[in-house]
């Protein structure tokens, strides 16, 4: 179906490269009006609408693959293009990512039921005393996209909150972020609290954030460090593989 949604048609005009236009248009046109509305709602960050539309689409019998491709990913593709071309900025991307999550909340159980298991489970928070979360949220977006279940603990997360969340959610990974040099040491303090509770070996610990370095992560006793969202996902996968291998052996 050609693009009939007026708002989506306007958004699509921001995609100017021919190859990108062809790829995104193919995905959009494979869907119907409901998928177009879903894509538009995702672009504009309306997570309530994405939630309802995804539920409706699946309830009406559409395949999860179609909803993912034609509704959610086609919308996110336009978000990516607009961000790259400086038409929107990080907050808008994160709002779209929140809408993506609302849609994926309905897709994930279907994937699980069909044997597509998540790679692993993580709890992820900005450490105590630190209110910065843009980097954390980008990492969470990437982690979820890669197939992890990630429980977002928000900002100013105290060690006991990490401990409680890791236990409650059966986490494999405890992931900590900080932007301030003054709050970075709280990553180490959090790990120490896990040690004091006798829980150090239950989880793998990852650290990241603008001032954090591999050396600092090593000093803090972390198992992994990511200097950007992509390496964060790669490292998380590596740590999960180590954990799985250890438990299998």
């Amino acid at each position: 179906m050609p693009i009939v949604h007026e708002g989506l048609a306007k958004e699509f005009e921001y995609v100017t490269k021919e190859d990108e236009r062809a790829m995104i248009l193919e995905q959009i046109e494979a869907g119907d009006a409901l998928m177009q509305e879903m894509a538009y709602s995702l672009i504009t960050g309306d997570h309530n609408a994405v939630n309802e539309l995804t539920q409706k689409a699946l309830g009406e019998g559409r395949e999860a693959n179609d909803v993912l491709d034609e509704g959610l990913i086609s919308g996110m593709a336009i978000v990516g293009v607009k961000f790259r071309d400086n038409l929107i900025f990080v907050p808008e991307v994160l709002i779209a990512a929140r809408a993506m999550k609302a849609g994926m909340a309905h897709i994930d159980p279907i994937l699980s039921a069909s044997g597509v298991e998540p790679i692993g489970t993580a709890v992820f928070g900005t450490v105590k005393g630190d209110l910065h979360d843009i980097g954390k949220n980008l990492c969470i977006m990437m982690m979820r996209g890669a197939g992890f279940v990630v429980h977002d603990l928000g900002v100013d997360t105290k060690p006991d909150e990490f401990i409680e969340a890791a236990d409650e959610n059966g986490a494999d990974l405890v992931m900590m972020s900080a932007l301030l040099t003054t709050t970075m040491p709280n990553m180490g303090r959090t790990i120490v609290e896990f040690e004091d509770m006798g829980l150090r070996d239950e989880y793998k610990f990852m650290t990241g954030g603008a001032p954090v370095t591999q050396e600092f992560a090593d000093d803090m006793g972390a198992d992994g460090y990511g200097d950007n969202a992509i390496s964060c996902v790669d490292k998380a996968k590596e740590l999960i593989a180590i954990m799985r291998a250890a438990s299998a052996g």
């Binding site: 997570h47 939630n51 539920q55 699946l58 309830g59 019998g61 559409r62 395949e63 999860a64 693959n65 993912l68 491709d69 990913i73 996110m76 990516g80 961000f83 790259r84 990080v90 991307v93 994160l94 709002i95 990512a97 929140r98 999550k101 609302a102 909340a105 309905h106 897709i107 994930d108 159980p109 279907i110 994937l111 699980s112 039921a113 069909s114 597509v116 209110l131 979360d133 949220n137 980008l138 977006m141 990437m142 996209g145 890669a146 197939g147 279940v149 977002d152 603990l153 928000g154 900002v155 301030l180 040099t181 003054t182 970075m184 603008a210 001032p211 370095t213 950007n228 969202a229 992509i230």
Partner: protein, 99 residues
């Protein structure tokens, strides 16, 4: 997103009827979809990381330092006012931070 993080419907809260579509999932196509999504996210991540590699997050629009900790790039021209950032955007600013 985010100070109050996971306030959206969780997977468990998602309508159980969604599972009716379970049989229809094509794993091969799903892999392709997730790969495409990761490509989109990777591009976003790279775009977001680029300015952060050259511009200190504590430097405001007028090149004044907003950090609450010492940095070797701080120059206090007027006592009581914010320091001027003397850092070069050509080098990694993080090595100048003093925690």
């Amino acid at each position: 997103m985010a100070d109050s993080p996971d306030n959206l419907p969780s997977n468990n809260q998602a309508n159980q009827d969604d599972n009716a579509s379970a049989k229809k999932v094509d794993p091969g196509r799903l892999r392709d979809s997730m790969s495409r999504l990761m490509d989109i996210y990777s591009d976003i991540s790279n775009t977001a990381a680029t300015p952060g590699q050259t511009r200190c997050p504590y430097k405001d629009a007028k090149s004044r330092c907003t950090a609450k900790f010492p940095c070797r790039n701080q120059f206090f021209k007027v006592v009581g006012e914010k320091a001027i950032c003397t850092g070069s955007d050509d080098i990694d600013y993080r090595s100048a931070w003093e925690s």
